[in-house]
Amino acid sequence: MTGRDLAAPMVLSSWERRFPAEGRARLLLLLPALGFLLLVFAYPLWSIVVRSVTDPQPGFGHYVQIATVDVYLRVFSSTFSLALTVTLATFVLGYPVAYALARSRGLLQAILVMLVLLPFWTSLLVRTYAWMVILGRYGVVNKTLMALGLTDEPIRLLHTGLATHIGMVHILLPFMILPIWSVMARIDPALLMAARSLGASQLSAFVRVYFPLTLPGVLAGGLFVFILALGFYITPALLGGPSDLTISMLIAQQVSELLAWGFASALAVTLLVVTLVVILLAGRLLGTEKIWEGLK
């Protein structure tokens, strides 16, 4: 027996305890993915952070500008309110769908799941263009309205805040439905029967037992949708009007039209930091374990 063998039990680092030998071998399998992430994610992120304080000259000028100029603050606040509205709308529309998914069985459930997942199989761009066709001046909606005699001339639907909301809600809906469904599917049906037997009507069994138990899923879905909505670009750019500027559109504008790489970087970093703060606050206020529970 070598000295190393004798000493081993005492010097086991937390690393070794967490990843026993065979586990460490498995970690090697992660290396390619880890290398890829470092190359295409961590490094570019770092260079954006660096650029935001060096381009065109060193200093925190960009950040001061973002924090003080009215326009930028307004873009941030309107982006946040857009994300919030979209999150609420996906919740209102998605919760009943998740419930239907959780209650259905067999073929019906398979069909419902497919309907929810179908949007994932088509490109975001295609879906956004589809909305342009539907909401356009002579699109399905306007044609129907005119045929019904509800309006004489086409209503402006495309390139409005409404179009942005509709498109984003549609695209983000699955991100709300799936976590809620996964939580609902794990609720013991006996809990509702227990509530009923103890004197709760169907409504109060839902309000006092079922809904509180689905909250982790609602929080997880809400966080998903909110964070994705904060950084949405294609849909608001194509469906929204010129006045509905979001942070991502602002960043694109700075890069492609003004070649202001430094300022665009500072905007991106600000968005990232604000998003992280939201996640941390949500975790602190609502209990992170609840959110992760919803994602499991």
């Binding site: 009923r196 103890l198 004197g199 037992v209 138990l213």
Partner: protein, 374 residues
């Protein structure tokens, strides 16, 4: 610590329950067929049967979660068949306990009282009393997942009886507990039921549980009640071969009545063994019958000992059970009999391969008319 001593107690006791011609037909099967049953106020009745015998379906119909195809359910003489579950005022203890994971022990137990709009002060008092009854005082602030299985079970029990329901239903409530805890809970349950004079309908497939706790046991099979009787009667005088077989072990032999008079009958089995019994239920010569003899009723006889029934054979196998030994004895006539004997450790226990004489009294022979085996 009777319920009546508590000033805020609703003072309700268990009510009588009557099931009349209750049936449940699912698309592909009859789960419960024309079941009628009366349970007295304050009685502990157990529905005992194998899985698929319809006992849980019956329970779900009483609780209001399944609509009976036919039949009526009465509690305290009032028909409740068409009431929704929350208006039935029945306490239910589920096998999975079904404690609300997001509520504390206190809030779990307070739930039915809040649903009944009791004032907060009274709720607090009644919950404290209930937690005291189940010996969990001081754990009101815990969440269910912080409790052991046995504690969760007791909270479920407290929650189901804190509103003093006229009827308490329990669906295999002790199934998930280990043996020691289960036995302790059986005693505890029985104590509570007596203290509060609760009417209890208890569902289980565990015969030991049924025999220890019940005032009466209803043995169910294929959606029907085979026999309803006290534990002693159901064990000692099972009315059907199914009941004899389901409760405890029994040696089952088929045969024909060879001779019968007022006090005795003799059955000849197909292999030629003659068995003498005393309770012939009026069956006469030539009747096809089924015999059941409990293994513990058969004894090993010394060379000169006499008995109502004597049979010779050879020990084929001896299985050590700890408190007892189970022997398989091949009789000269060819039958294989199971014999159970207390483990006495006195050196007299027969060994495998040893020739033995078996004896049993006429009282030990249970006779049923042979039925078409389903």
């Amino acid at each position: 610590m009777a319920a009546a001593e508590l000033p805020t107690a609703l003072g309700r006791r268990g009510a009588p329950v009557r099931l009349e011609g209750l049936s449940k037909v699912f698309a592909d099967a009859v789960a419960v067929a024309d079941l009628s049953l009366e349970v007295g106020a304050g009685e502990f009745l157990t529905l005992l049967g194998p899985s698929g015998s319809g006992k849980s379906t019956t329970l779900l119909m009483i609780a209001g979660f399944l609509v009976p195809t036919r039949g009526e359910i009465f509690i305290g003489g009032v028909p409740i068949t068409r009431k929704p579950p929350h208006e039935r005022d029945i306490g239910v203890v589920f096998q999975s306990y079904a404690l609300f994971p997001h509520l504390t022990v206190f809030d779990n137990v307070a739930f039915p009282l809040k649903m009944r709009n009791l004032p907060a002060a009274q709720i607090a008092q009644r919950v404290a009393y209930a937690l005291d009854l189940i010996r969990l005082e001081g754990l009101g602030r815990r969440y269910p997942h912080q409790l052991s299985g046995g504690q969760q079970q007791r909270v479920a029990l407290a929650r189901a009886m804190v509103f003093e329901p006229p009827l308490l239903l329990m669906d295999e409530p002790l199934g998930a507990l280990d043996r020691k805890l289960r036995e302790a809970m059986q005693l505890e349950l029985k104590r509570l039921q007596r203290t509060l004079s609760l009417t209890v309908i208890y569902v289980t497939h565990d015969q030991e549980e049924a025999l220890t706790m019940s005032d009466r046991v209803a043995v169910m099979n294929r959606g029907r009640i085979e026999q309803v009787a006290s534990p002693e009667e159901i064990y000692e005088r099972p009315r059907t071969p199914f009941v004899a077989d389901f409760l405890g072990e029994s040696n089952s032999l088929g045969g024909t009545i060879a001779r019968a008079d007022a006090s005795r009958f003799v059955v000849r089995t197909s292999a030629g063994l003659e068995v003498v019994g005393c309770e012939g239920h009026g069956m006469t010569e030539g009747h096809e019958v089924n015999l059941a003899i409990r293994p513990e009723q058969i004894v090993f006889l010394g060379p000169d000992e006499r008995s109502d029934n004597v049979a010779e054979g050879v020990v084929e196998d001896a299985v050590y059970l700890g408190e007892a030994v189970r022997y398989l004895v091949r009789l000269k006539s060819g039958e294989l009999l199971c014999v159970k004997r207390q483990n006495r450790r006195d050196g007299t226990d027969p060994k495998a391969g040893q020739p033995v004489r078996l004896g049993w009294s006429t009282d030990a022979v249970i006779l049923h008319p042979a039925r078409q085996q389903q």
